[in-house]
């Protein structure tokens, strides 16, 4: 007996080769085809793409530079606020 044969009681053969007894499209072949295009959470290493260095992710670049500009602006604003508060409290205005 080959490995695809399903056996119920010893000696009694129920099924051969997967879902159908015909040759062309068995259930297991259809399921494996679906796995190639399904968008489930897991990814197999055969489908992941290499990081594309020629086309940068401009959204991420913009967010990084925008956050940096925001931080610098915040820093200068806070510094001037602290300086003004110091001068007011010590009568140096």
């Amino acid at each position: 007996m080959d490995f695809k044969t399903v056996v119920d009681l010893p000696g009694r053969v129920i099924d051969r080769c997967g879902g159908s007894s015909r040759g062309e499209m068995t259930l297991s072949v259809l399921l494996s085809r679906a796995g190639l295009v399904s968008r489930v959470g897991s990814r197999s290493m055969f489908t992941s793409s290499k990081p594309d260095t020629a086309n940068p992710n401009w959204l991420r670049v913009g967010l990084s530079f925008g956050t940096s500009a925001f931080l610098w602006g915040l820093l200068f604003k806070q510094h001037s606020t602290y300086m003004h508060e110091y001068k007011v409290r010590n009568g140096l205005v």
Binding site: S64, T67, S68, L71, W72, L75, H79, E85, R89, N90
Partner: protein, 110 residues
């Protein structure tokens, strides 16, 4: 997140360029370059936006760290001087004697 309470606001704020800022900006920059190197990218030339962001975050944290350090030292100095003012007997100035008064007269034996 308030590091320095209200009384610390009468202290002069640190300059924009200060030691902690420069150092932590350097740390951030090296972190970005190390990240590049670990991903097999050219360390200096790739991901300039990441390097700038990491350095900016370091500079910002360094500024507030310097401000907190200044406040802490000022508070400790104030408390110490207040204690000295309240306990003058423990801090009486010692009388100063010159060496001429201490040293015994010298009689050379040749």
């Amino acid at each position: 997140m308030v590091l320095v309470p209200d009384e610390g606001k009468s202290l002069p704020p640190p300059g924009i360029v200060n030691r902690n800022s420069v150092w932590l900006a350097g740390v951030g920059w090296c972190t970005a370059m190390l990240h590049n190197a670990m991903k097999h990218r050219p360390p200096l030339q790739s991901g300039v936006h990441r390097q700038v962001l990491a350095a900016s975050i370091g500079w910002f944290i360094g500024y507030h760290l310097t401000k907190y350090a200044d406040y802490t030292y000022a508070r400790l100095d104030r408390d110490m001087n207040e204690y000295i003012r309240l306990h003058p007997d423990d801090f009486a100035p010692k009388e100063k004697r010159t060496f001429a008064e201490i040293v015994e007269p010298f009689h050379p034996v040749r």
